[in-house]
């Protein structure tokens, strides 16, 4: 059963761990994409990150996770005071950061269960060295089966190759399953609702609420209201032209869903100009 987490905010008051992003600038192939983004996410909190396509939302997530193509040119990302930018992506994962990707990669020939057993072991035993023991097979299988049942995922999933030949919806569910198994301190969910039909979004939304309990801090990147249905944001950020231009409460998310981003552009002409500039750069690249 999925119960709404009414006590979440209260619980989080006692929790001081934070994911703190300060004035983050990111470039891809030398072109600036993020031009100074800041936000602080506490454990137990839900933040929504909204903004038009190309405003830099995914870039923020990928830079926090450590994608090698996303070069941080200035700014900082700290997990409870630890500089994440100094760490490799696997070390960031072991430190407790997770990102559900918009377009997860297929790894042909690697079974979901084998991949998850490695991942789960490493995240739970951050000091594990290569070649050291994994979580015992029996124990792991039992846990995985339980999680799959909870998320209404076909057990056959465990034997399939990671994202190989998955439909859009299956990929997103696989990402949610990974979230459930890895139980990170902080999760960035990048359009975990895209490509899903209405029922599937509803299920995803409820699943995420159930998985996170009161402990996880989550940053939800989304265009849809439905994903926020069970995950009402404590804080809403609006991104435009590579900057976070507004931060508000849940009502801001509601407004943007209802009215779109025209008002935001009008209120923040400098960021809107930057947005136009970035768009122009991208078009030139497409032509060239």
């Amino acid at each position: 059963m999925i119960a709404p987490n009414t006590n979440r905010t209260n619980e989080s008051m006692s929790n001081t761990e934070t994911l703190k992003i300060t004035d983050l600038h990111v470039a891809v192939e030398g072109k600036p994409i993020l031009c100074g983004a800041s936000l602080t996410l506490r454990r137990g909190e839900t933040h929504a990150l909204m903004g038009p396509n190309g405003s830099g939302k995914s870039t923020l997530g990928l830079a926090v996770m450590g994608h090698p193509a996303y070069e941080v040119t200035s700014g900082s990302v700290e997990l409870d005071g630890v500089d994440l930018l100094e760490l490799d992506p696997d070390e960031r994962a072991r430190a407790g950061v997770f990102m559900a990707f918009q377009r997860p990669m297929a790894i042909p020939g690697v079974k979901m269960a084998d991949f998850l057993r490695h991942a789960t072991t490493n995240v739970r035993q951050p000091d594990r060295k290569e070649g050291e023991e994994l979580i015992p097979m029996r124990e792991f299988r039992k846990e995985l089966r339980g999680k799959m049942e909870q998320l209404k995922i076909d057990p056959e999933f465990a034997r399939r190759y990671v994202n190989d030949g998955f439909s859009g919806g299956e990929m997103k569910r696989a990402e949610i399953l990974q979230l459930a198994m890895l139980q990170p301190k902080f999760a960035i969910l990048d359009e975990t609702d895209s490509g899903l039909d209405a029922d599937a979004v509803k299920l995803a939304s409820a699943s995420i609420a159930e998985i996170r309990g009161g402990e996880m801090g989550i940053l939800i990147i989304t265009h849809h209201e439905r994903l926020l249905e069970h995950n009402r944001p404590d804080v809403t950020h609006v991104m435009l032209g590579g900057r976070i231009v507004e931060t508000g409460g849940p009502e801001l998310a509601e407004e943007l869903h209802r009215d779109g981003f025209d008002r935001v552009r009008a209120d923040h002409p400098k960021a809107a100009a930057q947005e136009a500039e970035l768009e122009k750069l991208q078009k030139e690249e497409a032509v060239g």
Partner: protein
């Protein structure tokens, strides 16, 4: 191996049931004294080898003729680079317990690999060439009895020449004659050891036969010669070699493997070889598949300096099927020139080649394959899939597909792909807590998974562990 990738073969023969009688089965060979021929290759050496083995005149003649053929043939101009002085090689070392080198002489890295693969002590010494005889009698004794009761002949090829002269004279070197290619000729002149298997009509052996089942010392010499005869309706899976690194001080390994799969029979031949880095591994493997017969080669090649190996299936009669699965892993200083050949000699024959190669640390892997359809082989179908994975900028992969079709009414497919381990795939796995090395290993193991799952369980496990060992230190 062949002088040309495409060669005709028209030999068609069948078993004489009268020969297929059950012989008294004996795995043991008598102990002989130490013998080591001098270095080099000439009539005297070849004659000496034959004499030491106490061979009949026909085999001696065969060897001497093969030597002439070897000397008359030029080196192949394709494949890999071979820098070898044939006069600087020992062609015959009679392995005995007394003769062996000491365990202390075996390089530490080889010992360590044995340990990490969990190879039992007796096997380790055998593999390292310290101990010539592998003590399998106790372990496999009951299996041997079962086989003997069914009339299966399974012995080393030297013993077969002595004990089954009729079968040998009829079939030996009929699939791969000495004039086939330079290295087949060399093997024919100086061969020693290898396996001989005969499976009587209708007999199905339901566990993989392994070379270790016999206690003979010479199963994996430098110039082994294997002959497998699967009579009508019979089935066998033979597993050769092992995934532990084969350690030898000699630099040339040139084997010949001949297989005949008679009407309605099935044969699978699985090899996983992991040679030391100084070895030239130049092997000719070929099977003839008769009516409705199925021949499958599963061939894994790791290590060596240069491997040239192209297991072939000639589909001689209607309904025959050939399947070849090949994995090659080339690392620093290694060239794997591996592939497969399918020759459709009759109508309604079907074939499939699946080749996977991995190159890392400057290694080079080449797929070299032939699909040939002879005139009249109507409604034949062949499909080739070859995928290459390149792990870094220094490494290399090439594809040389040869297709020769002399018949209109056929279906031939060929797909080839080359990929590099993608930054995106690595990042994805690393974002889930896998180290770069673990992530690379996982991607490589995934890449060869379609083949590994065809291996017997213990080989599949060892194969994955070997890949892990190979992958260590390849990143970072």
């Amino acid at each position: 191996m062949e002088d040309d990738m495409a060669t005709d073969i028209t030999a068609k023969d069948t078993f004489d049931p009268a020969i297929a009688e059950v012989n008294k089965y004996d795995f043991r060979t008598e102990t002989q004294g130490v013998f080591k021929a001098r270095k080099g290759l000439d009539r005297e050496i070849v004659g000496q080898i034959s004499e030491m083995k106490g061979e009949p005149a026909w085999m001696r003649e065969f060897r001497l003729e093969s030597l002439e053929i070897f000397e008359s043939k030029p080196m192949p101009k394709w494949g890999g680079e071979i820098n070898l002085n044939f006069q600087d090689v020992y062609y015959y070392l009679k392995p005995t317990d007394e003769q062996g080198r000491s365990w202390d002489d075996v390089p530490a890295e080889i010992k360590e690999t044995f340990d990490r693969l969990g190879i039992p002590e007796a096997e380790k010494k055998y593999l390292a060439g310290v101990k010539a005889q592998f003590e399998s009698e106790v372990v496999y004794g009951s299996l041997q009895e079962d086989l003997a009761k069914q009339g299966v002949l399974f012995t080393d090829t030297d013993t077969a020449v002595r004990e089954y002269p009729d079968l040998m004279r009829e079939h030996f070197a009929t699939v791969i004659p000495p004039h086939d290619n330079k290295f087949a000729a060399l093997n024919s002149a100086v061969w020693s050891g290898g396996s001989f298997i005969y499976v009587p009509p209708g007999v199905s052996i339901d566990f993989p036969l392994q070379a270790y089942f016999r206690i003979n010392a010479e199963s994996m010499g430098q110039f082994e010669r294997t002959l497998i005869l699967v009579d009508e309706g019979a089935q066998v899976h033979y597993v050769e070699g092992c995934t532990a690194p084969m350690y030898t001080t000699e630099s040339l390994h040139s084997a010949v493997v001949e297989v005949k799969v008679m009407k309605g029979a099935r044969c699978r031949y699985t090899t996983i070889q992991n040679w030391a880095n100084n070895i030239y591994n130049l092997v000719t493997k070929r099977a003839l598949a008769y009516q409705d017969a199925v021949m499958e080669w599963v061939d894994g090649n790791l290590g060596s300096q240069l491997t040239m190996k192209y297991p072939a299936v000639y589909m001689m009669e209607p309904g025959a099927r050939g399947e070849i699965l090949s994995i090659a892993f080339a690392s620093k200083g290694q060239h794997q020139d591996a592939g497969a050949k399918l020759v459709h000699c009759a109508p309604h024959t079907t074939g499939q080649i699946i080749s996977k190669s991995i190159s890392k640390n400057g290694g080079r892997s080449s797929y070299r394959g032939l699909v040939k359809v002879e005139e009249g082989a109507k409604q034949s179908k062949s499909n080739v899939v070859c995928d290459a994975l390149i792990l870094d900028q220094e490494s290399r992969s090439d594809t040389y597909p040869y297709i020769e079709i002399d018949e209109q009414d056929v279906t031939i497919g060929h797909e080839a792909s080359v990929s590099r381990i993608g930054e995106e795939q690595l990042f994805y796995l690393m974002s889930r807590g896998l180290s770069e090395a673990e992530a690379s290993t996982m991607i490589v193991n995934g890449f060869i998974e379609p083949l590994v799952k065809e291996l017997p369980m213990e080989y599949a496990v060892e194969m994955n562990r070997l890949i892990e060992l190979q992958m260590e230190g390849s990143v970072g």
